[in-house]
C-alpha cells in the first residue's frame, strides 16, 4: 500500500513538473502571439467596415428590373445585415483580389485577376471588366455578368430573368484564376521556395542551417508520428512525399487564412474535395490483395456477416475520404464564421464593455484558430496515413 502511494506521488510529481513546464511555455507563446494577434484582429474591422460596401455593390446589378427592388432594400442595410453580408462575402471566392474598399470615395484597393471561360472557345479577359459586379463584361461578342459571386451568361443589357429566387441564365464552364486559385499559386510558390531553400542547406553538411533547422523537426514529426505508426516501417517511404506535401499545404493555407489578407482556400469545398480525391485514388491504387479481401470478403467472420459487411465496407471506402473533405471544410469555415461574427459583435454592441468583451473573445478564438489550423492539417494527414496504412497492411495473424 505504501509502495503504491509512493509510486502515485512520484507520478503526480512528474506530471506536475511537466505540466508546469507546459504552462510556462504556453504563457510565453501566448504573450508573443497576443501582440501579433492584436495587430491581426485590429486590422480585421478595418477590412470589415471597408468591404461591406463592396458587397453592396457586388450584389446589386443594374439594368435588371428585379435587381432594382433588391438593391433598394440594400439602401436601408442595417449594421447586422452588413456584417452578415460581409461574412458571406468573405467566405466566397471572388474574381479579383481586393484588399479593402474606401467607403467614403467608393474606391477599391486590390488587383483584378484573369477570367477564363470555356464558352464558344476559350474566353480570357480581366475581371476588372466586371467593375466589381457593376457592369456587364464583353468578350468576343459574348456577354457575362457577375451575380452572387458567380459568372452567368447574359445579353448586352445584362438581363437576368429570375424565377422564384433562382437565376436561370446559363453558367459557362469557369476555369478562372480566382482569388483562391491565385492564393494557391502564391502559397505553392512560397512552399517551394521555403523547402527548396531548406533542402539546399543539406548539401553543405548533414546538419542543417537556417530555416531547415525549424522545418526539419516538422518533417521528422510527419515521418515518425504520422507515417511510420500508421503505415508501418516497410511501406511508409513511398507515401512520404504526398503526406508531407498535404500536411504543409493545408497548414500553410490555414495559417494564411488567418491573416487579414482574407485568403480562405480550405474553406472552399472544391479544394478539400481535390485533396480528398487524391487521397482516395492513392489509397485504392496502392491497395494490396489483402485490402480488397477485407473489403469484399472479410476473413474471420461467418458467411452471412461477410455478405452484410461487403456493401458496408465498399461504401466505407467512399465515405472515409468524404468525411475527410467535409471535416476540413467545415472546421475552417466554422472557425472563420465564428471569428468574424465575434468581430462583428464589437460594432453591434457599441458599448465599451460589450465591445471589449467580444474583442477578448475574438483574440482567444484567434489563438484557438491557430491551433485548429495545425490540428486540421495534422488530422487530415494522419487519417490519410491511416487509410494508406489499411491499404498496404499485411495481416500476418490470419
Amino acid at each position: 500500500m505504501q509502495c503504491r502511494s509512493a509510486l502515485l506521488t512520484k507520478k503526480i510529481n512528474y506530471f506536475c513538473t511537466k505540466f508546469r513546464n507546459v504552462i510556462r511555455q504556453v504563457i510565453m507563446q501566448f504573450t508573443r502571439a497576443l501582440f501579433f494577434l492584436a495587430v491581426l484582429v485590429l486590422s480585421q474591422p478595418v477590412l470589415l467596415n471597408a468591404s461591406g460596401h463592396a458587397e453592396h455593390a457586388a450584389d446589386s446589378i443594374q439594368n435588371t428590373p428585379i435587381e432594382h427592388s433588391h438593391s433598394e432594400g440594400h439602401e436601408a442595410m442595417t449594421m447586422k445585415e452588413e456584417i452578415k453580408a460581409h461574412i458571406s462575402h468573405h467566405l466566397q471566392d471572388s474574381y479579383g483580389f481586393h484588399l479593402f474598399t474606401d467607403t467614403e470615395t467608393n474606391t477599391h484597393y486590390g488587383f483584378p485577376l484573369p477570367v477564363i471561360l470555356i464558352d464558344n472557345g476559350l474566353q480570357i479577359f480581366s475581371s476588372s471588366k466586371f467593375h466589381h459586379g457593376e457592369s456587364v463584361a464583353e468578350s468576343n461578342g459574348n456577354y457575362y455578368t457577375l451575380y452572387h459571386g458567380k459568372i452567368y451568361k447574359t445579353d448586352e443589357s445584362g438581363f437576368m430573368p429570375m424565377h422564384d429566387g433562382h437565376v436561370h441564365n446559363e453558367k459557362p464552364l469557369d476555369f478562372s484564376i480566382t482569388k483562391n486559385v491565385f492564393s494557391i499559386m502564391v502559397l505553392s510558390f512560397l512552399l517551394v521556395l521555403l523547402f527548396m531553400g531548406a533542402a539546399k542547406s543539406y548539401k553543405k553538411s548533414l546538419v542543417p542551417t537556417g530555416t531547415a533547422r525549424f522545418l526539419e523537426p516538422l518533417v521528422i514529426f510527419v515521418r515518425d508520428e504520422i507515417a511510420i505508426p500508421n503505415i508501418g516501417e516497410k511501406h511508409y517511404k513511398k507515401f512520404m512525399s504526398y503526406l508531407l506535401t498535404v500536411f504543409f499545404f493545408i497548414w500553410f493555407v490555414n495559417l494564411f487564412g488567418l491573416t487579414p489578407l482574407g485568403i480562405n482556400v480550405t474553406n472552399s469545398i472544391s479544394v478539400t474535395f481535390a485533396l480528398a480525391i487524391m487521397t482516395f485514388i492513392i489509397t485504392q491504387v496502392s491497395g494490396k490483395a489483402e485490402y480488397w479481401k477485407h473489403i469484399f470478403w472479410m476473413p474471420g467472420v461467418p458467411v452471412p456477416m461477410k455478405i452484410l459487411l461487403a456493401p458496408i465496407e465498399l461504401l466505407g471506402i467512399f465515405i472515409k475520404p468524404f468525411a475527410l473533405l467535409i471535416r476540413l471544410y467545415a472546421n475552417i469555415t466554422a472557425g472563420h464564421v465564428v471569428l468574424m461574427s465575434l468581430i462583428g459583435l464589437m460594432f453591434i454592441f457599441h458599448s465599451w464593455i460589450g465591445s471589449s468583451l467580444s474583442f477578448a473573445l475574438a483574440v482567444s478564438l484567434s489563438l484557438l484558430e491557430l491551433l485548429v489550423a495545425a490540428l486540421q492539417a495534422y488530422i487530415f494527414t494522419m487519417l490519410t496515413a491511416l487509410y494508406f496504412g489499411s491499404a498496404v497492411a499485411e495481416h500476418e495473424h490470419h
Binding site: 507520478k11 512528474y14 506530471f15 505508426p229 468525411a323 467535409i326 471535416r327 467545415a330 495534422y378 491511416l386
Partner: protein, 63 residues
C-alpha cells in the same frame, strides 16, 4: 406536428459533443495515469474525435 430537420441535426451535434467530451476527459485521465504514454493516447484520442466529428458534420450538412 412535424419536427424540423435542424432539430435532428442539433441532437446529433449534442451527441457528438458529448462523445468528444468523453473522449477528451478519458484521454486526460489516461494521460494523468500514464504520462509516459501521452503520445499514443493523444493520437488515439484525435482519431476517435475526428471520426465522431465526421458524424456531426454529416448531420449538419445533411440538413
Amino acid at each position: 406536428m412535424e419536427i424540423p430537420a435542424i432539430v435532428g441535426a442539433g441532437l446529433v451535434v449534442i451527441g457528438a459533443g458529448i462523445g468528444i467530451g468523453r473522449i477528451g476527459g478519458s484521454a486526460m485521465e489516461a494521460i494523468a495515469r500514464q504520462p509516459e504514454a501521452t503520445n499514443k493516447i493523444q493520437t488515439a484520442m484525435l482519431i476517435a474525435a475526428a471520426l465522431i466529428e465526421g458524424i456531426g458534420f454529416a448531420a449538419l450538412f445533411a440538413v
